[in-house]
């Protein structure tokens, strides 16, 4: 039996932090007073996200999600809901752009501290078919708040 250690790219992809968010998602659930709601799914692989936001003026006060899918999509959703809390709408859109750049392999974005824990997902850029998983919650967010 092949007992060689897992590929380093795989170890980078499935970091402890990602598995932790996958197994203990933060902000999972629904909001009583949501101002924005978007449901997106990835018909190819069946990943689903229902994202709810409570936006007050220009500020995202709360973000919650319900979803099913792979570790990458669900961890990305969990991390994103933490990161965008108390951010303004333009700030959130800028973060979505940085996230997208990181997925395209932009190393500057991968070092950008404003992305917080999401930088753990930088390794996804090495797995092109999985990029859409990481961006699914971000696409839901931009659908929800883009003017």
């Amino acid at each position: 039996m092949d007992t060689s250690p897992p590929d380093p790219q795989l170890s980078a992809l499935y970091q402890e932090l990602i598995l932790d968010h996958y197994r203990r998602p933060r902000n999972k659930g629904t909001l009583e007073q949501a101002t924005h709601a978007v449901s997106l799914n990835n018909p190819l692989c069946g990943d689903e996200i229902d994202l709810q936001l409570r936006v007050d003026g220009d500020v995202i006060k709360e973000a919650r999600f319900v979803g099913r899918g792979c570790s990458i999509s669900q961890a990305a959703a969990s991390m994103m809901t933490q990161l965008v809390k108390d951010k303004s709408v333009p700030q959130a859109i800028a973060l979505a752009d940085r996230m997208s750049a990181m997925m395209q392999g932009d190393e500057g974005a991968a070092r950008d501290k404003t992305l917080g824990e999401l930088r753990a997902l930088a390794g996804v850029s090495k797995f092109p078919v999985r990029i859409k998983c990481a961006l699914l919650p971000w696409n839901a967010l931009t659908d929800a708040i883009k003017p």
Binding site: P6, D7, S11, L13, C70, S71, C133
Partner: protein, 411 residues
């Protein structure tokens, strides 16, 4: 078991490496690789025979037509069709079923009628019937499956009590590998007065299919799942049904005479083959059939059953792995669907890909079935004649690695 090494040499793509590993291609229920004989037949057709069929007055066009019609005859013989003119070439199973729903269905299913499908049908044998029933005001009745992934015969019987106009089911489930008791289901459905549509996408490549014995009314198949080219396939039907059906697509080739405001139609099967057909696909499919016949479908089925049994045995030894579908050896094809703890099937597929192992992850175009299994997706390994036991071992070893990454077992 078949002498796999000998066959693998016939498939140029299989000698490729993926991510630094020998390619282990276990996604044959999605599509199969092509032997050199099929590639050669396609190239040879274009080098020596290509012209538009059924209309040229010159020798080259006659040879092209002959090649196309010879492919039809070859396919008819391969599945023991009622007659060569009962073979309508299509882009594949999906188009074949849409043809039946769009032509036979529209002409025969009326408001208040019912159409029966099963909970294990591929979307291609479900959505066309949904569309038909919505259009006609008919009822779609989905037959349940048992816990071990077989068609629930009691529920099938209840569904027939409404005397449905059409009963559709898969011969072999693409997601579970279940080989359904097709002849028995056909008999029951006929006794209730229904016309029977069998989705043969997963049976034609792997089993000895004898349509005269099966006695269904319509049978749909895909060439690309049986070593043939993409975009090849057929609807095989009882000729008298095709004769009575209105055309599906309008255009050239399907007509007899065309006036300003109406037309008369060509005889079958041409009535259902509007436009220039995929001659390359038909010729390639005929070559694929030749290849399969040289090996023998009984031997292929036996080989795949042995691989599936070995895979089920190995996989179920890994703690946390759940294998879906029947456990019997005789009513199971070479398809093994599984999940592994809380590791999402897409994560499993990504991890296996790093070892050069190609499996399918997702809902397999069977979302109603996934709901009944209480999963959103499964991982699926599906075998063909060029897969060996060493590849089953590679699959199991890579799964252990996936488990380790997710903290399941020490690798």
């Amino acid at each position: 078991m078949l002498d796999v090494a000998r066959f693998r040499a016939d498939f140029p793509l299989l000698s490729q490496r993926e991510n630094g590993h020998p390619l282990v291609y276990l996604d044959n229920a999605a599509t199969t690789q092509k032997p050199q004989a099929v590639l050669d037949a396609i190239v040879e057709y274009y080098r020596t025979t290509n012209a538009n069929v059924h209309r040229g007055a010159y020798d080259l066009a006659i040879r092209a037509t002959e090649a196309y019609e010879a492919a039809r005859a070859k396919l008819a013989e391969f599945v023991n069709a009622w007659a060569p003119e009962g073979v309508v070439f299509t882009r594949g199973t999906t188009e074949a079923i849409n043809l039946v729903a769009g032509s036979y269905g529209r002409a025969n299913v009326k408001a208040g009628d019912s159409v029966v499908v099963t909970a294990m049908d591929h979307h291609s044998n479900l959505v066309p019937w949904q569309i038909l029933c919505q259009e006609q005001g008919a009822t779609l009745r989905m037959v349940e499956i048992t816990e071990d992934g077989r068609i629930d015969l009691a529920d099938f019987g209840r569904a027939l009590e409404r005397r449905p106009k059409i009963v559709a089911f898969p011969y072999v489930s693409n997601a579970l590998g279940t080989v359904n008791p097709a002849a028995q289901l056909v008999k029951l459905a006929h006794a209730a007065g229904a016309v029977v549509v069998v989705d043969g996408a997963q049976s034609t490549p792997h089993l000895h299919v004898d349509l005269k014995a099966l006695d269904c009314d319509f049978y749909a198949l895909s060439g690309h799942k049986m070593l043939g080219p993409l975009g090849s396939g057929a609807l095989v039907a009882k000729p008298e049904l095709l004769e009575a059906m209105p055309p599906y697509h309008g255009g050239g080739e399907m007509i007899a005479r065309v006036w300003d405001d109406h037309s008369t139609y060509n005889k079958i099967p041409h009535k259902f083959e509007a436009g220039t057909p995929n001659v390359e696909g038909a010729v390639g499919l005929a070559a694929a059939i030749g290849y399969l016949e040289r090996i023998g479908r009984e031997r292929i089925a036996e080989h795949e059953q042995a691989l599936a049994a070995a895979a089920i045995d190995k996989l179920t030894q890994i703690e946390g792995v759940t294998v879906y579908g029947p456990r019997g050896k005789s009513d199971r094809a070479g398809v093994v669907s599984f999940t592994y703890g809380d590791i999402h099937p897409h994560d499993i597929a990504t991890i296996l890909d790093q070892d050069g192992i190609c499996i399918r992850a997702g809902h397999h175009c069977t979302q109603p079935l996934m709901r009944r299994l209480n999963v959103t997706a499964t991982a699926r390994a599906s075998f063909y004649l060029y897969n060996g036991l060493d590849e089953v071992d590679a699959l199991a070893a890579a799964l252990v690695k996936a488990g380790a990454l997710f903290g399941y077992v020490p690798a």
